[in-house]
């Protein structure tokens, strides 16, 4: 235990004195500062050119100049009446476009678009049929969907008018609004999405970076032969746990520095952020979730760091590290992708996620995501944490054994089977 403390101190000092570590932390803090001060700085510039900011409404409607700057949307229909009606409706709906009627032939319309003079065109063959021409169809292009809505609305209003209602009555019927409010009894995915996302991403980055560092650290000791003295001075278990926990602490220190400074800078600039929902939701993480985050973060970090350490001990040369850690990295990336996909699909309680939230290698990310974005019974959380703690300790002990066998093997990297056999016998 005394040895463990000394190793922990020595290893932690290694991180805190490491120029790269300090440099990266300072860089991240500066980056966060830049982001957090951004609204204040832009506000300062805006104050400099305070020209008619109050009359935004006038600018949109009255300024012809402004209309001409907008991208052109062409409307073409056989009947002039239909064309004009559609133009009016579209002009009101698509306020980012300069909506114009065209009489040109279809080929000319197409060439106008490919030449970039107009951005898109709706060619109507009937009041409810059209072809939408656009040069490059963007992933986020919703013009066609909006046009569908508009044309349906137009058609229905016309139909109502024709069946004897006045235009106003028809308009009222068509424009009826349903009012309602949502009260989520479980979790609000939208609100929790961002810190779940940040935690998953932070975990991903920190595990890959620090895991690699632990592996390199062990392999360096081995290749520099410092191991020959170390292994005769300290128990491998103390060595392994000392190293891994030191790296975990270093990781936490770095995160506290980054997120702590983010919190401080945010509070300094709170008024300038003006209730930005994303930022607010990040800093208003409920205590309960924060505790879960810490638990899963630390355990997830440790379980992977142990594996990285064990792998590092089997490499004879630093160059071997990259290939040796690949299986672990892959395992971790798969876990990451599963969680990320489920998160963005909104269904975090699918079977895959449920299974993943009990497997120790995936549960830190999977279970935390489910806790944040869905309602998970307490016993499931506790079981998941219990499995994770058990596996972390187990993997820690096995890693220490692999370490003891691994560090004394030089030459070609032994096969996993051979190592496990040696560990079993030792």
């Amino acid at each position: 235990m005394k040895q463990f403390g000394k190793i922990l101190k020595f290893e932690l000092k290694y991180y805190l004195k490491n120029k790269v570590f300090v440099g990266v932390t300072v860089f991240l803090v500066l980056l966060i500062a830049a982001v957090m001060f951004f609204p204040r700085i832009t506000a300062m510039f805006e104050e400099d050119n305070t020209v008619d900011v109050g009359d935004i409404g006038n600018v949109e409607i009255g300024d012809e100049q402004n209309q001409d700057d907008l991208p052109v949307m062409l409307i073409k229909a056989e009947e002039a009446e239909l064309a004009e009606m559609v133009r009016e409706t579209f002009a009101a709906a698509f306020n980012g476009y300069n909506v114009q009627i065209t009489d040109s032939a279809i080929d000319d319309v197409k060439s106008t678009i490919t030449a970039g003079e107009a951005e898109c065109a709706f060619v109507l063959t009937s009041p409810i049929e059209y072809i939408y021409y656009v040069n490059n169809l963007s992933m986020y292009d919703s013009n066609a969907a909006m046009a569908d809505e508009m044309l349906r609305h137009l058609y229905q209003t016309n139909a109502l008018v024709q069946s004897g209602l006045t235009a106003e009555e028809a308009g009222d019927i068509m424009n009826i609004f349903v009012s309602g409010s949502v009260e989520s009894l479980g979790k609000d995915q939208m609100e929790n999405f961002f810190y779940t996302y940040i935690m998953i991403f932070a975990l991903y980055m920190v595990i890959l970076l620090y895991g690699q560092m632990v592996a390199t650290n062990v392999a360096t000791e081995k290749s520099s032969r410092a191991m020959e003295v170390l292994i005769t001075s300290a128990k491998p278990t103390s060595m392994m746990f000392g190293k891994v926990i030191a790296s975990c602490l270093a990781g936490l220190i770095q995160l506290v520095a980054v997120f702590g400074s983010a919190l401080v800078f945010y509070n300094l600039n709170k008024s300038y952020w003006g209730g930005n929902m994303i930022i607010d939701s990040i800093f208003n993480i409920p205590t309960e979730l924060f505790v879960y985050m810490l638990v899963f973060f630390i355990l997830g970090f440790l379980i992977y760091a142990f594996m990285f350490g064990a792998v590092g001990s089997t490499a004879s040369k630093l160059e071997d590290i990259n290939t040796s850690v690949m299986p672990i990295t892959l395992l971790f990336i798969i876990a990451f992708i599963v969680v990320m996909t489920s998160m963005s699909s909104g269904n975090v309680d699918n079977t895959l996620m449920k299974v993943a939230s009990f497997i120790p290698f995936t549960s830190p990310m999977a279970m935390f995501t489910r806790i944040c974005m869905s309602t998970v019974p307490l016993y499931e959380i506790l079981i998941s944490i219990a499995i994770l703690i058990g596996s972390t300790v187990g993997i820690g002990v096995i890693s220490a054994k692999i370490y003891r066998v691994g560090v004394l093997l030089y030459g070609t990297t032994p096969k996993l089977g051979a190592i496990l056999k040696a560990v079993w016998k030792a």
Binding site: K6, I7, S224, R225, E228, L230, T232, L408, A418, K421
Partner: protein
């Protein structure tokens, strides 16, 4: 204090590395553990240091199983190396602390050793700024700083210049004089011969020879003579195949038995122009080749 390894057996997987290895080393004396590469020296040392356990057998101190919390061991590994990028005093303190010293005592002892080995000027430098020989001296401090009861030195002289070798010899003699068990492992037979009172030769994981070096030499049949002369031709032709020329130019005469010794000596002195004649005593080198070489006797 007597350190004893008793019937140590060790296998790695299917491969048997040590078979019934036993030897004894006494405090206040140096012990030489010899053997060719792969004979099992390092494995024996690692078992002795509890890096891994033996499959069977015991490590005893004065007849009792060794208590690693009480008996301090200092080790200079054959594969040298510490942290190249770290400050010397920092890493030396770390290693001494791992061996159970308090920080204060560790620094005090390290400063003594830095001074003793003439390395004080490098105290706050990084290890990789030092020459190989100086790095070796730093490594020696890791083996001695915590004042261990057993000092294990694996190839301690390799890479040292004659001046540093002298310094190390003095240090080793000092350790022996303090009553410590000093265990040498080396291929440089001259050093072993100079320091060690007793030896063990390992061959393929078996102790091929073990005992007091002086006794071992005395035990050789005294049936060979070394003759130095200016005119070897006459002797060579008279003794025929029994007489061979040794590397240093002297002649070696194999006798039919040790009983002939006196008669042959008299005959040589009376009949030939002789500078020197004596009974041939094997050097440690000869003994080593005989017991550990490819054509070695089976034991």
């Amino acid at each position: 204090m007597i350190l004893e390894l008793k019937n140590i057996e060790k296998s790695f997987g299917e491969k048997k590395v040590l078979t019934g290895v036993s030897f004894k080393a006494e405090g206040g004396k140096a012990f030489g553990l010899l053997g060719r590469n792969g004979a099992g020296k390092t494995t024996s040392i690692r078992i002795l240091m509890d890096v891994f356990p033996a499959n069977s057998g015991e490590v005893l101190i004065d007849g009792q199983p060794i208590d690693y919390n009480k008996i301090g061991i200092g080790y200079l590994p054959e594969e040298r190396g510490l942290y190249p990028k770290k400050i010397i005093i920092d890493q030396l303190t770390y290693f001494a602390e791992l061996k159970g010293m308090s920080r204060k005592a560790a620094i005090q002892s390290i400063d003594y050793w830095l001074d003793r080995l003439g390395m004080t000027e490098y105290r706050n430098k990084r290890l990789d700024t030092l020459s190989k020989g100086n790095q070796q001296k730093i490594q020696l401090i890791t083996a001695l700083a915590h004042d261990p009861d057993i000092v294990i030195l694996d190839e301690p002289f390799s890479g040292l210049d004659p001046v540093n070798a002298m310094l190390l010899k003095d240090v080793v003699k000092e350790q022996i004089a303090k009553g410590k068990i000093v265990l040498f492992s080396s291929h440089q037979m001259s050093y072993i011969e100079e320091f060690c009172d007793s030896i063990a030769i390992l061959k393929n994981g078996v102790v091929a020879l073990h005992g007091d070096l002086h006794d071992i030499k005395r035990d050789y049949p005294r049936d060979r003579l070394v003759v130095r002369t200016e005119n070897p031709d006459a002797i060579l032709s008279d003794f025929g195949t029994a007489c061979t020329v040794m590397e240093d130019g002297a002649l070696r005469i194999q006798l039919a038995s040790a009983d002939e010794k006196k008669a042959v000596m008299t005959r040589l002195v009376e009949n030939y122009d002789i500078d020197e004649v004596k009974v041939f005593e094997p050097s440690l080198n000869d003994i080593f080749v005989e017991y550990a070489g490819d054509g070695a006797k089976e034991v």
